[in-house]
Assembly symmetry: C2
Amino acid sequence: MRTPLERFYPLIPAGGVGSRLWPLSRAVEPKFLLDLTGTGSSLLRATYDRLVDLATDGVMVITGEAHANAVTQQLRELRGSDLVLEPSPRDSAAAIGLASAILYQRDPEAIIGSFAADHVIDPVEDFQAVVREAIAAAATGKVVTIGIEPTEPSTAFGYIKASKSLGAKDAPHALAVEEFVEKPDAQTASAYLATGDYTWNAGMFVAPAQLMLKHIEANEPELYAGIMQIAGAWDTPERDATMNRVWDTLPKTAIDYAVAEPAAAAGDVAMVPGSFSWDDVGDFDAVARLNIEKTGDDLFVLGDKNNVITEDSTGIIVNNTHRKISVIGISDVVIVDTADALLVTVRDDAQSVKNTVAKLKEQGLNNLL
Amino acid sequence: MRTPLERFYPLIPAGGVGSRLWPLSRAVEPKFLLDLTGTGSSLLRATYDRLVDLATDGVMVITGEAHANAVTQQLRELRGSDLVLEPSPRDSAAAIGLASAILYQRDPEAIIGSFAADHVIDPVEDFQAVVREAIAAAATGKVVTIGIEPTEPSTAFGYIKASKSLGAKDAPHALAVEEFVEKPDAQTASAYLATGDYTWNAGMFVAPAQLMLKHIEANEPELYAGIMQIAGAWDTPERDATMNRVWDTLPKTAIDYAVAEPAAAAGDVAMVPGSFSWDDVGDFDAVARLNIEKTGDDLFVLGDKNNVITEDSTGIIVNNTHRKISVIGISDVVIVDTADALLVTVRDDAQSVKNTVAKLKEQGLNNLL
C-alpha cells in the first residue's frame, strides 16, 4: 500500500509571455525562461527544483513547441516522455488535462499537482510542507488548491472562499472550499480580506488524476475523448502522430471552467493555505520589490552589474547588452536594456508597459514582442 | 582701398570633447561634430555657414589630426590650406596664433575673427550684423570681443566689463573694455548683472592679425617665433615638415593670457554686445531647452524619432541606435542611447554626467570616452 506522496506526480504548465515584463520577456523567451532574481536559475528551473524532491517519478512539463530547445537546455534531466510539446495553444484545460491523462495511464492511482512555471516562492521548505498537506488532502478524494494568504486587497487575482476544516489525515490546515470567485473590484476585495475566509487563487492545485478526468469528462466530453486518445498513444511509437492529429481539435477552455468551478460546486474542492511568500512577478515593480527585499540594497542590477554606474538613484536596472549604463538622480527607476529595445520608466508606472506592448502589436512589430 | 569687411578672415578653433554631453560626445566624435538641434547640420557646419558669407577668402578651421576626415566630410568646400591640423593639443594661443600668423602672411592687413565651433546662435542675421560691427571696430586697431548679454547671473562664464562708447565708424554699439574677469561666484555674478556693465565672455573676438601677433610677440615670444616659422612655410611645400617639427615645441597657453588680458590692460580691447540668442550647449539640459523652445513640444527626440514611444514623459531622448525605446512616466528625462553606452538622468542632474566621465577615466575605459 503506497502513501499518497508515493503516488505524487508534479506537472508544470509553462506558458504565457508576461508582456508587462517587456522588453525582457518576449514570445521567443517568455517570463518562465528568465532569471528574474539574479540566482542563475530561471523561474521554470526554480519551479522544477521545488517540485522534483516530492516527485515519485519525475516532473512533467507542458509547453509550446517553440520552447522545446530552451526547456530541455534548462532541464537537462527531463525525459522526453515527460515533455508535452503543444503544437498550438489550446488553453489550460487541454494542457493540464492531457498531462493528467498521461499520468493516469501510467498510474491509475496518480495524484497530480499543477504549478505555474513563472512564480517566485520562498522558502522552498515551507512550500513543500504545504504541498505535502495538499497531497494528503487530495488522497481523500479532493481537488486541493493552495490558497495564498492575501497581503493586500488585490484586484489582480481570483479568490478562494474556504470554510470549515476538512479533518483530513496529515492535512491539519486543509479547509473545505465553498467557491471560487473571479477577480473582484477594490471594494469587494477589501470586504473579502475583512472576513478572513478568502485567499488568493494562484492556480496551484493537487488532485487524483482520476478525479481530474472525471470532472473533465462530465464538463468537456469532447476534450476528455481527445486527451484520452493522445494519452493512450503517449508511451507508444504512435505518440507524435496521435498528438499531431488530435491536439488541434481539442476544445479551448480554462481548467477553472473544466474542473475547478464545477468541482467546487460539487463539494469536491479543498484548500491548504500557503504560508510561504509568493509572487507572480507580474511587472518590473514586482521584480524590483523581490530583489530589493532579498538584497537589502535599494538599487538592484539584473544582468551585467559591472557595466552599471549609478548616482542618487534607486530601483532596478536590467543590463542584458553589456553596454555601459549610467543612471543619475532617478528614484524607483526601471531600466531594461536589451539588444533591440530599451524601457525606461519608474516602478509606479510598471503596469503601463502593457500600453507599449499594445502599440507594438498595433504596428505589427511582432519581432519586438 | 579695401573696406574692413573685404579684409575679414574668419577662423574656427574646433576642439574640446564636451564631456558633459557623454555618451553622445566622445573623443573620436566631439561635440562640434554633432548635430544637437536635429537640423542635419553639426555645430561646426552651422558655425561655418554663419561665417562664410562674411569671409573675404574662405574660412580657416583648426582642429586635431584625429578629426581631419570628419571635418573634411562635413566641410567639403574647405581648402586643404585652410585646414590646420594639430599634431597634438597645444591650447588656444597656439591654435589661434598660428591661424592669425598664416592669414597675416597672406594678407598683412587681414582682420581675423575667431569663433568657437560648438555654440548655437540664432538668428544668423543678427549675429552677422554684430560681427560686421566688430570688424568695423577692429579696423580702428582693437581686439573686439562679442559680449553676450547675460540672461542670468551665471557662474559658468567669464565676464567682460565695458564702459564708454568707442565712437568707431560703422560700429555704433562698440564700447571700450575695461577688463576681463574670470568666472565669478554667484554673489559677484549677481552684482555684475545689477550694474549693467558686464557681458559674458563667449570667446568670440575680431582683431587685425597684426595686432594679435603684436600681443603674442610681447607676451609669448617663444610662441610667436614658432608660429611665424610655421606660417612662413605654410603655403609652400615645407608646410607639413615645418608643422611637424615646430608644433610640439610651442608653449601651451590660453589666448586669454597671451592676447586678451594684456590687450585689455593696454586699452586695446573693445566689445560689441551680441543681441542674438547664444548657447554654448554645455549639457543635455541645454540641448533639451534649445530644442523644446524651438519646437514647442515638451519632449524632443534627436535621432531616430520613429523608434521612440513615450507616455506621460517630457524631456529629451537621443536615439542613435535605432532600437525601440519606450519611456513611461518620467518628467524632464534625459535618455541618450548609443551603441556602447546609455545615459539615463533628468535635466536637473545633467551637469552630473561629468562624474560618470570621471569614473570611466579612473577605470581607464578610454574607448568609452
